[in-house]
Symmetry: C2
Subunit: 251 residues, 2 copies
């Protein structure tokens, strides 16, 4: 239920301006399309709470918690995961600023996984019942919700195919690079906010394999690795990732 940590969450002042409405959030497009209808925007705005910051390691929701809201990451990184039958952690995804968490909970009314902050995290929380109600009056919002849900169906491409460790790693790095780039960060230099173990659990590899692939990529001149800082040196990595990222197709 999107546990809160600090004191009562309060809307942050600079977001009160309808034209600046939470520019990091996934609904900014919906707002723009709707032509800045003031009263509707006010309705949307009322649904939003900025919550956090969550501290590193702090959980945002846990598997089985009652579902009541989706949330956009405003800053920081969120990792979602489940513990499988063998007691091993399966990382389901990493969520960067501007991305939505909680969508898969809609069908069951419970969160089907855990979400934890990898670094200090601030969220925009949207009450889902209110959201759905609003969607009936605001087609742009409904469409945006459909779009977000549908997009997520295709997200598992990286995990679902049977790709080599090299391809998986390349696709992982390129995906991060693109997502950061679309937020205005450098596409070639990135700082991993997750551990090697997290990456391994996400890519379904052993942590040792992650280490070995990093080394090999560096030896081959594809990337430069320094601790958690990665520099992408050329287009070869993208070439390797193309196999996976090309067909982000699903049904």
């Amino acid at each position: 239920m999107l546990r809160q940590t600090g004191p009562t969450p309060t809307p942050i002042a600079d977001d009160g301006d309808a034209f600046q409405f939470c520019s990091t959030c996934a609904f900014s497009a919906a707002c723009l399309e709707s032509g800045y209808d003031k009263s509707l925007l006010r309705d949307l705005h009322v649904l939003v709470e900025h919550i956090g910051p969550y501290r590193e390691e702090e959980h945002i929701f846990r598997e089985g918690d009652a579902f009541n809201a989706i949330a956009a990451v405003r800053s920081g990184t969120v990792k979602t995961y489940v513990i499988d039958a063998n007691g091993r952690e399966q990382v389901l995804g990493f969520y960067l600023p501007g991305e939505m968490i909680g969508l898969s909970a809609i069908s069951q009314a419970r969160y089907p996984c855990n979400a934890v902050a990898l670094d200090p995290v601030v969220l925009c929380r949207f009450s889902f019942p209110s959201m759905a109600a609003l969607a009936t009056r605001m087609p742009g919002v409904q469409q945006q919700l459909f779009r977000l849900l549908s997009e997520d169906i295709g997200k598992a491409a990286l995990l679902a195919g049977n790709y080599t460790a090299d391809e998986r790693m390349a696709a992982f790095l390129i995906s991060l690079s693109r997502r950061y780039a679309s937020r205005g960060f450098s596409p070639t230099r990135l700082v991993l906010t997750m551990s090697r173990t997290d990456i391994a659990n996400y890519l379904r590899l052993a942590a040792e394999s992650v280490s070995r692939v990093f080394r090999r990529f560096q030896d081959e001149g594809l990337i430069r690795v320094d601790r958690r800082e990665i520099e992408i040196l050329g287009p070869e990595l993208e070439e390797l990732a193309r196999n996976i990222l090309r067909d982000q197709a699903y049904n």
Copy 2:
């Protein structure tokens, strides 16, 4: 664009009765919840076209086709797939009667994969623009759409984890068994409508491995295999599948 084969599709008479409205389709629940509101049901009914039959091997849509409709399988089996960068077929899913195809196309306005009939297939086609418009007036429909989309996010569980060939196969068979059972068929005897190669491409295994696993399962007394007919002999198979099916969790 949900190609049609036969003559102009016409609504089938026995479905004109609101109480019998397309009982195989995924929206039957929405209809029931809405309390049989006659005028709304009429609106919903108008959106539906029964199309087909498609012949075996015939394509329902292809990757890149303009998206305009989702569809419920009424009879037969649909396979969705993409061709990956190495020219290999990746099967994304098998769709049995009552299940929806086309949901993942919503975000891109194009179908991101191919859909082909494995045997004679009849569909209920729902125009998506009309559907979305109706959803704004009929909360039950909107909710059902959200639910269907959200459910699909979790479908890839079988493919995403790193499970053994045995676990994958067990989960595949049990999943089929349950889905058939929920439609009133036997949960222990099933006829596979797809080839070994299709199964292999779905489970991300070599066709040879599929063959070997079938043999081993049979030798161990878990199943009886005769050509494409499978009999599930005991609860051991379910036990094997539990690892995968238990955590159908996603985000």
